[in-house]
């Protein structure tokens, strides 16, 4: 087991900055990431060579390249294609790497695991050709690839317009944008959005370009069904109320389409923090369950949490939160004197607070409203892995279940290979609505290792059968 001072889980903006900062103070650092290169989602590394013109045209790409270069130069061990599946106090992190199982040890652990995308299901969402909004950003940024044929871009948040504009720029076809928000929702967020005039201007350019190209935008509307046998053929949309519920009698409209890109906001990826026993609170405006932690990121002995996995506030804020966590680790491991820590962390805290104004405005816009999950039809598949329909959740609540763990053991909802990452939010919303209780009362599924599916040999480690002690044979 290799020994480090600090292991950083996740190589996005928070993780890269935490690692760079910890290295600046002489700590031995490992960064663990599932992807082929560090960057995370916003600063996703392209799969093909970057040309100077690409950097000039794309601020996120340029920032990502700068951070990757700084991380490379920092001397941190960057362990890409390492899929962490367990963490334990001590600290110990177990991963699957291309060459087999790897266990890492360190005095401290920085969780910078980012988010998972929320997709509240509707009939047909499991069809091939339907992908997440975040998935579409990966397609576009990493691979320059557009979905096939007319594409409906649906859900909530600035990614709708970023992805639609990106698809058009890369030569794809956007059939329509279906936005849960009303223009008035966007207008109400303006004071927060104006704290980053550059990002606001970029958003305005996306919308203006789409409007000039004649792309239809349906505001305060949702996708109620995706039709097709083995592939997408049409998308059905309906208007929604302010709480995002689609009235059963409201007029439906069919849009011919071959691909659908859909996402209903971002949820902090808290599985490692929950596995480590960090207490969490439910804060809808920050994306859902968020870990309790000190302002410097410290959540428990040796455990620090930074970036969107501690509450959605965006890439810019994540960088500062990562730097702050890196400083806190250096202070707690004795590499940074308290006075020097105070001196260095003050400006970072101020920058973080400024960046959070924009990020929080976006996060509040994307916060899930109760009508969306309430409108899920009884036969809609909620748990993709186990094919569990909404009706199964309803019947378990009718029988008296009030906790997510009860739902899981009664139906297998959330028990498949994704471990409930895809369906937890929708399932919890349905349970809470059916039971008539606040969302936080139904709790969350207990996090258990392995957090990712793993080959049996990885869990067993290497051994020889001859080394296993055997009881002596009974006398004949």
């Amino acid at each position: 087991m290799s020994a480090y001072d600090v292991i950083v889980l996740g190589g996005g903006p928070a993780g890269m900055q935490a690692a760079i900062t910890a290295r600046e103070h002489g700590l031995r650092v490992a960064v663990v990431d599932e992807g082929g290169r560090p960057g995370g989602q916003i600063y996703r590394a392209p799969s093909d060579p970057v040309r100077p013109a690409d950097l000039a045209a794309n601020a996120d790409l340029a920032r990502g390249e700068r951070l990757r270069a700084a991380l490379d130069a920092s001397g941190a061990d960057v362990l890409t294609r390492h899929r962490a599946w367990a963490a334990a106090p001590g600290m110990r992190v177990d991963c699957i790497a291309p060459g087999g199982p790897v266990s890492l040890g360190a005095a401290a652990l920085v969780l910078a695991t980012g988010t998972t995308e929320r997709v509240i299901p509707m009939p047909g969402v499991t069809l091939p050709g339907v992908i997440g909004l975040a998935a579409a950003t990966i397609l576009l940024k990493a691979h320059g690839v557009t979905p096939g044929g007319p594409t409906v871009v649906a859900g909530v948040g600035p990614l709708l317009y970023a992805v639609a504009a990106g698809i058009r720029k890369a030569g794809g076809e956007v059939a329509a944008i279906v936005d849960l928000l009303h223009p008035a929702d966007w207008a109400a967020a303006l004071p927060g959005l104006a704290s980053r005039p550059d990002l606001l201007a970029r958003g305005v350019r996306w919308v203006a370009g789409l409007r000039a190209a004649g792309v239809p935008v349906h505001h305060r509307a949702t996708v109620t069904a995706i039709h097709g046998e083995a592939f997408v053929q049409a998308v059905e949309i309906a208007p929604v109320a302010a709480d995002w519920s689609a009235a059963p009698g409201a007029p439906r409209r069919a849009i011919p389409a071959a691909s659908v890109v859909i996402g209903h906001g971002l949820v902090p990826a808290t599985e490692f923090a929950r596995l480590l026993g960090v207490p969490h609170r439910y804060v809808a405006a920050q994306g859902g369950w968020v870990p309790d932690r000190a302002p410097d990121g410290r959540a428990a002995d040796g455990v620090y949490i930074a970036g969107d996995c501690a509450g959605i506030s965006g890439a810019a804020a994540a960088e500062f939160a990562g730097a702050l966590a890196g400083l806190a680790v250096a202070r707690d491991l004795g590499a940074l004197k308290p006075a020097r820590y105070a001196e260095l962390s003050g400006p970072v805290r101020q920058a973080l607070a400024r960046a959070e104004r924009f990020g929080s405005a976006i996060s509040r816009l994307m916060a899930l409203r109760p009508g969306l999950a309430r409108s899920i039809a009884p036969d809609t598949i909620v748990c993709r892995c186990e094919d569990i329909p909404r009706a199964a959740i309803d019947s378990v609540v009718a029988a008296g279940a009030r906790q997510m763990n009860q739902l899981k053991s009664a139906t297998r909802c959330g028990m498949g290979p994704c471990q409930g990452r895809s369906c937890a939010d929708a399932a919890a919303e349905i349970m809470a609505a059916d039971a008539g209780v606040p969302r936080e009362q139904v709790g969350a599924w207990t996090a258990r290792a392995p957090l990712r599916p793993l080959p049996l040999e990885a869990a067993l480690g290497s051994f020889s059968y001859a080394d296993i002690p055997r009881p002596p044979l009974l006398p004949a």
């Binding site: 599932e34 992807g35 082929g36 989602q41 392209p46 799969s47 093909d48 060579p49 970057v50 040309r51 294609r81 899929r83 998972t116 995308e117 499991t126 069809l127 091939p128 050709g129 339907v130 992908i131 997440g132 975040a134 998935a135 990966i138 397609l139 990493a142 691979h143 320059g144 690839v145 557009t146 979905p147 096939g148 044929g149 720029k169 890369a170 030569g171 794809g172 046998e229 083995a230 592939f231 997408v232 071959a258 691909s259 598949i381 993709r384 892995c385 186990e386 094919d387 498949g416 290979p417 994704c418 990452r421 895809s422 990712r452 599916p453 080959p455």
Partner: protein
């Protein structure tokens, strides 16, 4: 569909029954990359070096990667970041997530293997 019903399991394998969806495309303005040759269910396809297998499969028109284990509904890549586990395929005999697997020269990819094993025990 009745659970265990084996009809209509492999719409991706019978193009006459289900018309192919429109092609997914790579932006021609992107920098060129080296070509990597691999096989999918024995059929040769080409991918660009650096691509993930999921993206290479989509560009080759192979959107349908597997069927769900219980209701046997068709599935394809969904989150592209290693979370949803929908894009499991077999590469040289081992189950992998296509979205996190880089393409390699000569890799032999098999789609929907678990479903086929259930259909042909």
């Amino acid at each position: 569909m009745r659970i265990g019903d084996l009809s209509n399991r492999h719409p991706g394998r019978s193009p006459e029954a289900h018309p192919q969806p429109p092609p997914w495309r790579r932006d021609p303005a992107r920098a060129a990359a080296a070509v990597v040759a691999l096989t999918v269910d024995g059929e040769a396809i080409e991918a660009a070096a650096g691509q993930s297998l999921a993206v290479a499969l989509a560009l080759a028109g192979r959107l349908l990667l597997r069927h769900s284990p219980t209701a046997h509904t068709p599935r394809g890549m969904f989150c592209l970041m290693g979370s949803c586990q929908e894009c499991v395929v077999h590469v040289d005999g081992a189950a992998v997530l296509a979205c996190l697997e880089p393409v390699r020269v000569g890799m032999q990819v098999e789609l929907d293997r678990l479903d086929r094993e259930r259909a042909e025990p």
